[in-house]
């Protein structure tokens, strides 16, 4: 079974990332958000949905996200940083508590930033050595800005 990094560990990936809108879905599928939104009355139970770059998070404002175990965010190229804002908005604005999973072309050297904006699942391309990627998890032990896990910026922590 393919592996992924979740919450700092290498585990089996039990979900299927559905990229083709015509593919059959079931309760282990992560389906395109646009497909789910269009078919939500009939699609049945899924593991989660995924946002394409360009989808934004506003389309999810009226949806009960707690029904999803996972929300994926796709990186069409690792330099396309829209997903960093999407993850943060999912966590901080839409209060999503499940897994936020990075999908697509992101690279291990981005893990530090990805974790800080709220991702906790990383489904890398197959050629990535996950053991080596794990070693890049935390390039910095401190940070100036607030983030999803520590909302207080440095100026609220320096004096503490």
């Amino acid at each position: 079974m393919p592996k992924l990094i979740k919450n700092g560990e290498i585990i089996d990936n039990s979900y299927t990332w559905i990229q083709d809108a015509d593919q059959a879905v079931n309760s282990t599928s992560i389906v395109p958000a646009q497909k789910w939104l269009a078919e939500q009355e009939t699609i049945g139970k899924v593991a989660g949905i995924w946002l394409a770059a360009g989808d934004g998070t506003e389309c999810l404002h009226d949806i009960d996200l707690s029904q999803f175990d996972v929300i994926g965010i796709h990186f069409p190229a690792f330099v396309d940083g829209r997903g960093f804002s999407y993850a943060r908005l999912l966590r901080e604005r839409l209060n999503f508590k499940g897994e936020v999973r990075a999908l697509g072309e992101f690279i291990p050297d981005q893990l530090g930033y990805l974790l800080r904006v709220g991702f906790n699942g990383f489904q890398f391309n197959e050629e990535v050595d996950l053991e080596k990627a794990l070693a890049l998890h935390k390039p910095f032990s401190i940070s100036y800005q607030g983030d999803v896990s520590e909302p207080r910026p440095i100026f609220l922590r320096r004096q503490a």
Partner: protein, 553 residues
């Protein structure tokens, strides 16, 4: 100036370790060229025409003598014993070896320096007025706010992969805008509201490059405690909606223009409504902490115009000239701001040799409390010089090649490294600067012409800010040959404007002749006390155009 505590120091050291590992993996082919590219750029490392180029950050232009000596030392041991000060107050080393860069960064970290985010599609070094904190008419010293922005922008997790680079500049005085804030992605003007509270007028969407634009005001007043949440809101809108399909249309200016400022503002406000008042709101204690790093040095109680100054001004025309052009009024009696110009004929604008860097550091220790600033016009500044030491300093500056008394004049050019170094350039810039230096070498004539900004870029990326030069020169490639397009009427201050192109481009050898013709039109048309830019604005482009393209007969 700002001093690192254990937290700041740890962060730069961890960055060195991170980059050392990335470089190792790149050299081992564990990281591809394509993956390493943005990682090294975010550490200021380009791969240039002949060698890598490392751009070292000089946050808002503040530099201690110790740091400058370290830069000189690094340039000797890892490079060719010189550096290039850029328009964004940074220092570029043109010949380091890629495998040495981690060691260079480790040495920089020893003196609280780094190359973080000096390139790449992220928030770059924040720049400001080189006279910050020492002029009488500024609202408040902008440097504590620049440091606040520096920390907020450093390793910002959400904004490391923006559509394109993002530059912020801060200005704090009505009388001038020495940081060209209106041609930055965000320009901040510190002001006080009617209640006397400090805040910022925020300008967005300025920029140079292929589509030069002067920024537009998005907010007349953002209270200072809300600055970071407001910046987060602007950049979050940009990060999600800025174009990513074409790098030449990816800057925030294109998004602001496409949406219109009203729509852009309403999106930012909608985003800000969620962020305002949250954790990133800056407490007064933090402003106080930062202000404490920028207190006045131990000034002596002195009078203006000491006798040794006034008598030298009367007896030496050369000194008087230097005093008039290269020094500036200080807010404290008995002191003066001195610019050490890096525009000597025969030296590329903004270049300083290692010996010059060491000399400048010595002068800073001797005359200006051990601190220097780098200016947007690519000069060095000693901000706190006693007026009774000016004669001494002038003598010492002359020896070191820092006293060319042409600050603000035609030959005080802004110039990018151009085709001599840069892989992006279409044409060389330094030989053009040299040609103009050689042609316009009569100081009396230059003084008569008065203030003129002449800016040179070797390509459309506009690192030499040609669009906002009163005269702008742009290198273009025509079937493999280098030609130069000339524009006039640009300005980068509070009256910022984008220059207009005269017409077809000129051959390299004709540039000085054309500039001379433009000067002749100015001299014939000017009214008394009128600057070049004012004459241009009054008479328009036509007479300049006619003169430039007149057939010799």
């Amino acid at each position: 100036m700002y001093q690192y505590d254990a937290i700041d120091q740890q962060l730069v050291e961890e960055r060195v370790a991170q980059f050392r590992d990335q470089t190792r993996r790149y050299l081992n082919e564990e990281l591809s060229e394509q993956e390493f590219l943005p990682l090294r750029l975010q550490n200021g490392l380009y791969v240039q025409r002949y060698a890598p180029m490392l751009r070292v950050a000089i946050p808002y232009g503040m530099l201690s003598s110790e740091q400058l000596r370290k830069l000189a030392d690094i340039s000797c041991r890892y490079d060719k014993s010189y550096g290039h000060f850029s328009t964004r107050q940074n220092l570029q080393l043109n010949w380091p070896k890629l495998e040495d860069v981690p060691d260079i960064l480790a040495e920089l970290a020893e003196v609280q320096m780094h190359a973080v985010q000096t390139s790449g599609n992220c928030i770059r070094n924040t720049t400001t007025d080189q006279y910050a904190g020492v002029i009488s008419d500024e609202v408040v010293d902008p440097r504590p706010y620049c440091e606040l922005i520096r920390q907020w922008s450093t390793f910002h997790p959400e904004f490391a992969f923006l559509p394109r680079k993002f530059k912020i500049a801060v200005n704090a005085t009505e009388s001038a805008d020495r940081a060209a804030t209106q041609v930055h992605d965000i320009g901040l003007h510190i002001k006080k509201n009617d209640a006397g509270e400090i805040g910022f007028k925020v300008i967005v969407g300025g920029g140079l490059g292929r589509t030069p634009m002067v920024g537009v005001t998005i907010s007349e007043f953002i209270p200072r405690e809300d600055l970071l949440t407001y910046l987060d809101a602007i950049i979050r809108v940009y990060n999600q909606h800025g174009r990513r399909d074409n790098k030449y249309k990816a800057r925030i200016k294109i998004l602001v223009k496409a949406l219109g400022i009203e729509e852009f503002r309403s999106r930012v406000d909608a985003e800000w409504a969620h962020l305002r008042g949250k954790e990133s709101t800056v407490p007064m204690t933090e402003f106080e902490r930062l202000q404490n790093f920028f207190t006045a040095p131990a000034y002596e109680t002195l009078q203006n115009n000491p006798e040794n100054l006034t008598s030298k001004l009367a007896s030496s025309a050369g000194f008087a000239r230097w005093y008039e052009r290269n020094t500036f009024e200080h807010k404290t009696a008995g002191y003066r701001i001195v610019t050490l110009t890096l525009k000597k004929a025969g030296q590329a604008p903004g270049d300083a040799t290692a010996d010059q860097m060491i000399k400048a550091a010595d002068l800073a220790d001797q005359y200006s409390f051990g601190e220097l600033r780098v200016s947007h016009e690519q000069n060095l500044v000693l901000a706190d010089v006693q007026q009774d030491k000016l004669v001494e300093l002038w003598e010492a500056s002359k020896e070191a090649g820092f006293a060319t008394p042409t600050l603000g004049l035609l030959t005080d050019m802004i110039c990018c490294p151009g085709g001599d170094f840069c892989a992006l350039a279409n044409a060389k810039s330094i030989p053009i600067a040299a040609q103009i230096q050689d042609t316009f070498n009569d100081l009396d004539y230059l003084y008569d012409l008065g203030n003129i900004d002449l800016n040179i870029s070797g390509c459309m990326n506009a690192c030499g800010h040609h669009h906002v030069g009163n005269i702008g020169i742009l290198g273009v490639d025509k079937k493999g040959e280098e030609f130069y397009q000339i524009s006039i009427g640009g300005a980068s201050g509070h009256d910022a404007s984008i220059g207009k192109i005269l017409g077809p481009s000129f051959a390299q050898e004709d540039i000085s002749t054309i500039i001379q013709r433009l000067m002749n039109v100015y001299v014939e048309n000017r009214s008394e006390e009128e600057r070049f830019i004012d004459t241009y604005r009054r008479v328009g482009i036509t007479p300049f155009k006619e003169a430039a393209y007149a057939k010799a007969n």
